[in-house]
């Protein structure tokens, strides 16, 4: 069989993308497509795993048996989602262990929202409602991403996450229907998590270095700013319904655009947190490294046993 030139292969590849035919693991793909996917999916996987920590912080202190079970199940789901995503990166030829090492060495980032501390129980509500809400906006869009294993992982994740946002909003609603102390707790969480949630969509389109190519490859299907706007439009009425104030004096409905206008995001803060200067960056990575190091002998033991008893 005649070998196709790189150029021809690239052309065929883009034609497939344009026809919305999914790319599968062993298909030919440009090196940069593979690298972009590895970066994006592993960042996404790390975000799920590191994201377990701020919420996990409240499992032992959850205020009722029901809330404890719900929170455990939710954080457990995140472990599952990280696992699905690591599996997707493995189809691109990188092992989970190497991917995780890149997280621990700081080579690959995770969503900077998880560098903020969870200080009160209301933060668990705010994370479920806002942070998961923002994540879901992204993830729903990614169900149609061009790489098959990533798209399939996202479909599964979206299905499972549908309860996450609801349980967060339910916590916030309960607090807002509660005592003065509970309402204050809820508003305080809102004040701290609103802006970082908006930052979750990443830099504005003008600043985002990866957006254009990723859109052409249909890895991304919407721009950061489009998704951010959808999130604001969806969240404002939800906040109003239960009496929470959005901490943004410039927020108002724009009839002509059919969207909410909102104030400028403090990108300086965003870059500081991404750059490692957030309130919990160090603790998050330390916790992950500790789990890996303390688990080393366990993983070794299981392998040693399996080798001894290979039938």
């Amino acid at each position: 069989m005649e070998t196709l030139t790189q150029e021809k292969l690239a052309e065929k590849f883009q034609a497939k993308i344009d026809a919305d035919i999914k790319i599968e693991p062993n298909d030919w793909m440009p090196d940069t497509y593979r690298k972009t996917l590895i970066r994006q999916i592993s960042q996404h996987a790390h975000s799920e795993i590191v994201g377990m920590l701020p919420e996990g912080n409240w499992i032992t202190r959850a205020p009722s048996l029901r809330r404890k079970a719900v929170l455990l199940a939710k954080v457990q789901d995140e472990a599952g989602h990280g696992l699905y995503l690591y599996s997707a990166t493995e189809t691109l030829g990188v092992s989970r262990e190497d991917t995780i090492d890149d997280l621990h060495s700081g080579k690959v980032k995770y969503s900077s929202i998880f560098n903020y501390p969870t200080l009160t129980w209301a933060d668990i509500g705010a994370i479920g409602w806002l942070v998961d809400g923002a994540a879901i906006m992204n993830q729903v869009a990614l169900c149609r991403t061009s790489y098959g294993p990533y798209a399939r992982a996202m479909v599964k994740i979206c299905k499972e996450e549908s309860f996450h946002q609801r349980q967060g909003y339910e916590i916030m609603t309960t607090l807002m229907n509660g005592t003065e102390a509970q309402r204050e707790m809820a508003q305080d969480a809102m004040n701290r998590f609103w802006w970082p949630s908006l930052m979750m969509f990443g830099p504005s389109d003008a600043e985002s270095k990866h957006t254009e190519q990723s859109m052409r490859w249909r890895i991304k299907r919407h721009t950061n700013d489009e998704l951010r706007q959808s999130f604001v439009d969806a969240s404002v009425p939800q906040a109003e319904l239960i009496g929470l104030k959005i901490p943004d004096p410039n927020l108002k409905w724009n009839e002509a655009r059919g969207h909410y206008d909102f104030g400028a995001i403090d990108w300086e803060e965003f870059w500081q947190v991404v750059g490692g200067n957030g309130p919990c960056n160090k603790e998050r990575i330390e916790a992950r490294v500790k789990a890996k190091e303390e688990g080393e002998w366990v993983r070794e033991a299981a392998m040693a046993y399996a080798k001894k008893h290979k039938s």
């Binding site: 069989m1 599968e24 062993n26 298909d27 030919w28 199940a73 457990q76 789901d77 599952g80 696992l83 699905y84 599996s87 493995e90 092992s95 989970r96 262990e97 190497d98 992982a153 599964k156 499972e160 080393e296 993983r299 070794e300 299981a302 392998m303 046993y305 399996a306 008893h309």
Partner: protein
Amino acid sequence: MSTNEWPLWEVFIRSKQGLNHKHVGSLRAADAEMALQNARDVYTRRSEGISIWVVQSALITASDPADSEAYFEPSDSKVYRHPTFYDLPDGIEHM
């Protein structure tokens, strides 16, 4: 890659009696028994299944995408394998 990394397994689940096992994803496990249990814990948290198969990923032989035309296109022209290829006289609706 460290040699202690557990091997990768592919997981297949029968969602209910009467259906085939279907590939749902993969996971890591040191041995087959652990792979089954991990599959139960990872992939059936929401009652997705009643039976699980696991197989080490390394043991799967897959067709090469480069061969896909040679493999699969020849059957496209064998339209006579499909019932719609055949004409039925009026008056016979189902056969």
